[in-house]
Symmetry: C2
Subunit: 336 residues, 2 copies
DNA sequence: CTGAAAGCGCTAACAG
DNA sequence: CTGTTAGCGCTTTCAG
């Protein structure tokens, strides 16, 4: 299985000391042009790549950044991961991704594994861990949180303006003439779910409208949850002309329930999501939603992590969402 | 930032030598019960976790398994990744995932990065690299290929019976009475795309049917490709009552084209996919497809990789697909 | 059964 | 500008 080339071999072949090779590799110091050329030639010829484990051990850095994501097969987090991967691509760092499966213990364990692997920084995508466990963690390792607020660490948070997003949605629906709403929320333990819901309720209030508590159901941000929540909504027997979901995934689930119930979208009920996941434009009909530049958010998260590693302070980002009107919304039908 | 505990500290506190601690950690040799107990207590108290970089360097293994996936935000590969992660969970190994973005150079580079990181094995999910580049690679590092055939390495391949899957689909459609088909294929360079297409064509032939070449379009296995291919199909003006897609993602894209064209599914045209990606049951209408136990496939891939690392030979797996009849297929309408 | 000693491949002072 | 010298934290002979 072919022994890999080592730095020592390169040094020998090039007739220089290992340190010189190391310096060239890392740009740690200036090296005489002729030696540099010679060494680089040998590196190329031998196709030498430094052993990261050795670099990690000697350098005291693992050159890896841990990423905790709720799920590996989520269209939403997947895009963020792609952004993170892309942003790290031209750096010596690489991501190590572990999923938390939406379970607190798994998330905690993911963090433990990452720390045991001595990652140099960690990026948290969403997640349900308490602020109380995150704050001490941030003392031990540079940390960036995405899509969630961590009290006391707001500079390390990359969030979106959930309230604005929801106001955009509500405004659109109100403009269309809707007055009877139903709402499917994310879980209460997630700060963005709470923000979205409160913003929505606020809009209704401002419009002088109210919503019966039964017409608010929680769907855990997942497709199945949305599907079931929509069913519960229908079961109340209370009328509504617009169903707003706190994310696209739940809207997708809700769409199926509506389909099964023989309700047409948008003719019988308008449907909205939140996030603009890649598949939302492919729904039947394409979903009206609010766009989070989730790929870009991933990129920013990686960049902030890099800044932290560089000793610079992290900078809070607030992304501005954008209304994407597609075909799942229309004026309400006049009642028969 | 809190210095991590080292093995040497543990040894000192427990009053034994570092080697003894190492032996206990790895079960490399028997250790007197009293020392073992003492050491384990110290490990627990100090919450010691060995530094993987150091283990890697000293042990000559990185304890990591490289995974190359075409995409990080694919419902299909995402499930496989979840399976791999789960299977590796209770082993000392952990996955390092890099995406190839469906581009040969990126895939090649992903492999290079993985080799540079000295992964102990690599798992290839699908991918478009030539057999010619994979064969020599397998000499350098234990390798498992998922969902694709590599000539000369069939024992290292985990595949599904694509022909059977397509026969299931074709049989279902034929039974419903369909005689006029259109087909959206994956790219020719992917062996499974070819297998599926050939199987489909074979079924038609066996049924004494033929298909006009214009009614076969390629969609690259992606949503957008499916959407565009479907449009091209419609543009031919040739009639078809069933549209079979070589995977679910393209079926999703095709669904949108059909919707835009005002064609109802399944009333005007029956639509089928392949894979049974998680979102397919949520389509409107839910998609008839063929199920690949993709999560399980991921698990098997990881297990085979582990076997390879254990010095055992890999064993070829052929997964059997299963027809999932949902609501996107129905008998063809009698022509107006 | 157990300790001492020698590295794994690389980086980082420290002298020149 | 560059070579020498120590390690980084752990595993693994090699003696005992």
């Amino acid at each position: 299985m072919l022994e890999p080339v080592t730095l020592a071999q390169v040094a020998r072949e090039a007739g220089v000391s290992p340190s010189t090779v190391s310096r060239i590799l890392n740009g740690t110091a200036n090296v005489a042009p002729d030696k540099r050329v010679r060494v680089e030639a040998v590196i190329a010829r031998l196709n030498f790549r430094p052993n990261p484990q050795a670099q990690a051990l000697a350098g005291g850095r693992s050159l890896s950044i841990g990423v905790v994501t709720p799920s590996l097969h989520s269209t939403f987090y997947g895009e963020a991961l792609t952004g993170i991967e892309a942003a790290l691509n031209d750096t010596p760092y690489h991501p190590i991704v572990i999923s938390g499966q939406w379970r607190t213990e798994r998330e905690q364990e993911a963090l433990n594994v990452l720390l045991a692997r001595r990652v140099d920084a960690v990026i948290l995508l969403g997640g349900i861990l308490d602020d109380e466990v995150l704050r001490p963690l941030a003392q031990r390792v540079p940390m960036i949180a995405v899509g969630r607020e961590v009290q006391g660490l707001s500079d390390s948070c990359i969030v979106m303006d959930n309230a604005l997003g929801m106001r955009l949605i509500a405004g659109h629906l109100l403009d269309l003439g809707h007055r009877e709403f139903a709402y499917i929320s994310g879980a209460e333990r997630q700060s963005d779910a709470v923000e979205r819901k409160n913003a929505f309720l606020g809009c209704l209030q401002d419009a002088g409208l109210s919503i019966h508590p039964d017409l608010i159901q929680v769907g855990q941000y997942l497709e199945d949850g949305g599907q079931q929540a929509a069913q519960r909504l229908l079961d109340t027997g209370r009328p509504f002309t617009a169903l707003v979901c706190a994310n696209d995934q739940m809207a997708l689930g809700a769409r199926l329930t509506l389909y099964r119930a023989g309700l047409r979208v948008p003719d019988d009920v308008s449907l909205t999501g939140f996030d603009d996941v890649v598949t939302s434009r492919l729904m039947t009909p394409p979903l009206t939603t609010v766009r989070q530049a989730i790929y870009d958010i991933g990129v920013s998260a990686a960049q902030e992590a890099l800044k932290l590693l560089d000793g610079q302070p992290a900078q809070r980002h607030v992304f501005t969402p954008e209304l994407v009107i597609r075909e799942s919304t229309a004026p309400p039908r006049s009642r028969p």
